[in-house]
Symmetry: C2
Subunit: 349 residues, 2 copies
Amino acid sequence: MSEKIYRTIISIDCMGGDLGEQEVLKGIIEAYKKNNSLFFIIHGSGTKLPKLLIKQKILLGAFKYIEADSIVSMSDKPSQALRKGRNTTMWNALTCVSNGEAEVAISCGNTGALMAMSMMKLKKLNGINRPAIAVLWPSTNIRGFNILLDAGADIKADAQDLCQYALMGVSYAKSGFNIANPRVGILNIGTEVHKGSSELLKAADIIDNLSSIFGFKFIGYVEGDDIPSSKIDVIVTDGFTGNIALKTGEGTAKLVRTLFKETFNNSLMAKIASLIAFKNLKNLRKRIDPRRVNGGVFLGLNGTIVKSHGAADAIGISAAITLASKLSKNNFQKNLENKIFQINNLKKF
Amino acid sequence: MSEKIYRTIISIDCMGGDLGEQEVLKGIIEAYKKNNSLFFIIHGSGTKLPKLLIKQKILLGAFKYIEADSIVSMSDKPSQALRKGRNTTMWNALTCVSNGEAEVAISCGNTGALMAMSMMKLKKLNGINRPAIAVLWPSTNIRGFNILLDAGADIKADAQDLCQYALMGVSYAKSGFNIANPRVGILNIGTEVHKGSSELLKAADIIDNLSSIFGFKFIGYVEGDDIPSSKIDVIVTDGFTGNIALKTGEGTAKLVRTLFKETFNNSLMAKIASLIAFKNLKNLRKRIDPRRVNGGVFLGLNGTIVKSHGAADAIGISAAITLASKLSKNNFQKNLENKIFQINNLKKF
């Protein structure tokens, strides 16, 4: 057997991130240093990236470069991105997954465009009604984050969709983060069993029944303030609610940053204190921003797509690559397909 | 004319708050010192409050005390509270509004129980489908907060309900906080006009048409991260989404508090810094907790009910009383009734 068989092949769109392709490249090198069984299909546009790549001796033999005519920008609407379509680095990155060349694709470009293109290129997994975006949410859990889905792939979800989200979240927690027996809850406006819409009641019933079959613990309903807590690992909700919650968390974190600055600027003593604790405060600011825990994942498609945050730096990109390679190594996609096949064959579903 | 005619009469349930009736009494005295045209109908249970009241010479002639057999506790479910019903301080406080003795009632007890009892005692305003809870949300606006409704009175809202929420929010912003031309937005998962459910699209259309008639500015869709921003005054959403957003904000604030403690405990320098900036940090912690901006208001009933936070201290209670008296003085309830009457008679609605 040749060496290549053991390699995890990652297709990575280097364009569209806030910090430019050079930062994505730094992240690739960072990740490769930690794990030299990785092979990258690098997608770029323009002359800058090829010039930088030539200089990276460490990556020799560990990548292939594919040039595209244009890129999807942060301001492109999904419809515009689809029109640009096949001439973009994003499209090419997804093509490598759809044609089986790579096991997973990564992009730090525009989320809406990436979801629309992924749906078109990879299609929904057989049996899945609605794909979902799973995000990592800062929490007091030992890992430092929880998993929430759907964070906005779709605006609706019925009971069956919510059950599929639960199973996708469980697969992700197991393959991505080695959580053996994930605790799963449904986001609701109260923890009493009679609360919420009839779809939530139905979903709770089915998910409870599935828990012993698929090896997770159903903890029932949770509320918004439980999302960052240590009592749960996977939070299930529809994409409208999940997106509002995520953005509200981001907004609260942003408000805190603004008030932080005011607090440490409004007296001399406070200014001195902030200088003393500068590094600690900087770390704190990073931790409370939900976007900083990098790597949202698109679930329920024929292929795994990792969406890195647009503002991700090299460390963030490297974390997203490590997550992607872990999902690939643990046969995440295959396991997920099996689970979906299995529940679609269960009579009670 | 006798002096009493000019008095604002406030019915206040002193029981059920986390800090006890003595803290509520402190809040009453605080508010009375600022405005001695207030008259209080004080509702208590047990011997403690009457004993404390006798000692308060400053309140002589400014209150009436009404005794109840029992109280609604924080752990009582709405159904349990309704069963206890007429023997509780909460019930009595609402009775004073329903029989016209007081213009507004205040309670820092259990929200669910208070809403259920208010619905039973005061009934919905003629023409209102769903009453709403309006909360004050910490923001970078000049006032330090924005108004969000519905925060959880109901789990659903159709286009017509959302329009009524918009008008109720506008009335509240004008009467409660003197915002002449409030900026109103609908919470959604994107700001593009085509985004969101058909109910949101319909609501946006109607609210836009109402803006010139009722003197507000419709700014369209806003996202979760706009809730604490300075670009908006009134955020309109259904009670499910509003409650999830509110609790998520609370959870984020709680996470920040936890991480704060860790940050300032993990090095000697950071500990020193936290001692230097102790007061500033304490103030910051208070500001980022959405619950600390005191005074949620129940809108759309035959009478105004101010829900003070369960953990409110004397300053919080005093703020809630000041808000209640302001609403009363500005004829908030009457103005709101007129607005609802007016839109129900508009052809296009």
